[in-house]
């Protein structure tokens, strides 16, 4: 039932082939793992007869109906570091600090399906052991039960497409929705077979899903799942559409994984993170955006292990700039679109005379969505950075649930994770509002907006607030939605 495999290096994963039956595709899994995980993984626990809910959903509705016999159970591989050992006679995992610390040495799991081809099923792997994983990854905590231990792994779910009943687009939808069900208790769990059904108005039956999806089907999956999908497409008639990529980057920075379509490749992936380029002091004037500082995006692609780092340009077989359209599955109550924020953000420099903003052509702009409560929590944890009057203002303003944050940083501030000023925009604002803001502040001044009156009478709906010098060179950048990778 259980076998322990000790690894000197990831090349030793080839031993999986001799431990696991061929219908689970151990050779291909071993090759993928050896090429994609770091040497920090020193032990693999092979768990046989594992009942995987996602595979079972396809087994009950598809594989069990076939003439070829398919097994109902899967094999699951668990990955540990060098401190963990397996006592085969007692069926116990041991580590020096005791079993309650097993979780500190656990790097996740991979399910192998007994389908002969495309056998890699539900996988949640720590970004820390994924070779080349991007610096920031959207993650959730996934519970794992094995040998009576309750473990937790922080990662983003992935799997190979089944080929015969699901394709890349199903897998991208499944990954995102499984992340949602683990991260937010307001979303239910959807199994692989559920996703194939949700894509269509009626049960297409049999092999129809394998003929592929259209982008609209993915949009439908997210609608049926109870989210409010926003579908953004690049304007390919223009020579370039930087606003499209700025929006893409903004949603990822907000912690929303994206369903991304690459038209010329007929392929869909989930975008789950990014890595910024090393900050450089260019001294070249010109307004820049957070997207301009991105070096790679992290993809969950059903042809690869998760967190595939994909360069913005010049990658093979594709680059981040090959993304032509994306769907972001938003919660309700985000009415003010990223397109509007993208246009509004540079216009806010026209308030620079009141707020003492840095010059627009020396500024890096970053915008993203968060909740009013997350903003308050962020400020509360860094109270010493803020004039108490500003803290009181942020605690008092009756934010709607979601706000857009726009941060302004000079090149020097950007390099050290600081900002010069921050605007808080009402995510429920209407497109035609002149002042869709709650607050905007720098280190010296703030503008406070009364959302009850500002749209009726601009003058009575805005007040100024002079802020005390708190003795720092910039506020902390609000980098909090994604998990920083700790490479091992």
């Amino acid at each position: 039932m259980y076998t322990w495999l000790s690894l000197k290096s990831s090349a030793d994963l080839a031993q999986l082939e001799s431990c696991i039956s061929q219908e689970y595709g151990p050779k291909r899994a071993a090759e993928k793992l050896a090429g994609g995980i770091s040497d920090a993984v020193k032990g693999v626990l092979i768990e046989r007869n594992y009942v995987d809910k996602d595979y079972r959903s396809t087994y009950y509705h598809f594989y069990a109906k076939k003439g070829q016999h398919y097994l109902p159970n899967c094999v699951r591989l668990h990955f540990f570091d060098q401190t963990v050992a397996f006592d085969e006679s007692a069926l116990k995992l041991t580590c020096p600090e005791g079993p309650e610390h097993l979780n500190d040495h656990y790097y996740g799991y991979m399910v192998l399906r007994p389908t002969g081809i495309a056998t890699i099923g539900r996988t949640v792997l720590s970004p820390d052991v994924r070779s080349g994983a991007s610096r920031y990854i959207i993650t959730a905590n996934h519970k794992v039960h094995v040998l009576g231990y309750r473990l937790m792994i922080e990662g983003f779910p992935s799997m190979d497409q089944h080929v015969d009943i699901s394709v890349c687009a199903h897998v991208a939808c499944w990954s995102i929705l499984r992340h949602y069900s683990e991260r937010y208790n307001s979303y239910r769990e959807f199994l692989t077979h559920d996703i194939t059904l949700m894509a269509h108005q009626f049960d297409p039956g049999g092999l129809i899903p394998s003929k592929g999806l259209e982008v609209s089907h993915a949009e439908r999956v997210f609608q049926v799942a109870g989210t409010y999908p926003v579908h953004v497409t690049r304007d390919t008639k223009k020579a370039s559409d930087p606003s499209f990529y700025r929006q893409l980057s903004a949603y990822v920075e907000s912690g929303f994984p994206l369903f991304a379509a690459m038209h010329k490749h007929g392929h869909a992936v989930a975008v789950v993170g990014y890595e910024r380029r090393t900050p450089v002091n260019t001294q070249v004037p010109g307004m820049r955006y957070a997207w301009d500082e991105v070096q790679t995006l992290a993809f969950v692609d059903d042809n690869n292990l998760p967190y595939l780092p994909v360069p913005v340009t010049g990658g093979a077989p594709y680059s981040a700039e090959d993304i032509d359209a994306f769907i972001v599955a938003l919660p309700e109550k985000v009415f003010y679109p990223a397109d509007a924020v993208d246009r509004l953000a540079p216009t806010l420099f026209k308030l620079g005379g009141v707020l003492d903003l840095p010059p627009g052509n020396q500024t890096i702009i970053r915008y993203f969505i968060t909740t009013g409560s997350a903003l308050r929590h962020f400020v509360r944890e860094r109270e010493s950075e803020f004039d108490p009057k500003l803290v009181a203002t942020i605690m008092t303003l009756p934010f709607a649930q979601f706000v857009w944050i726009v941060e302004f940083a000079t090149e020097l501030q950007w390099a050290v994770g600081q900002i010069a000023a921050r605007a808080v925009i009402d995510a429920t604002a209407s497109l035609r509002e002149v002042m869709p803001l709650w607050l905007m502040h720098s280190r010296t001044h703030a503008l406070v907006f009364n959302r009850l009156t500002v749209s009726l009478d601009l003058q009575s709906g805005i007040r100024g607030l002079k802020l005390a010098d708190m003795g720092h060179t910039g506020f902390t950048r609000m980098d909090q939605n994604l998990r920083p990778t700790k490479t091992k």
Binding site: A169, E214, V232, V448, N450, R463
Partner: protein, 61 residues
Amino acid sequence: MDEEKKQGDVFEAIEGLTQVDPNALADFQRAMNEEVIPEIIKVVEERRMLAAESRHWPLKC
């Protein structure tokens, strides 16, 4: 009603607020009304049209 309005007036609850010189807001207000809002309306409609076109893209790799 007046009492409700007063309680809803967030400015009453924040200390240290001052009036803002209307001239300091004029340029922003003009830009929003004459350039930014019309551009936002236009670009949101353009994105809607582009999304409609891309809905039929096949994805099967």
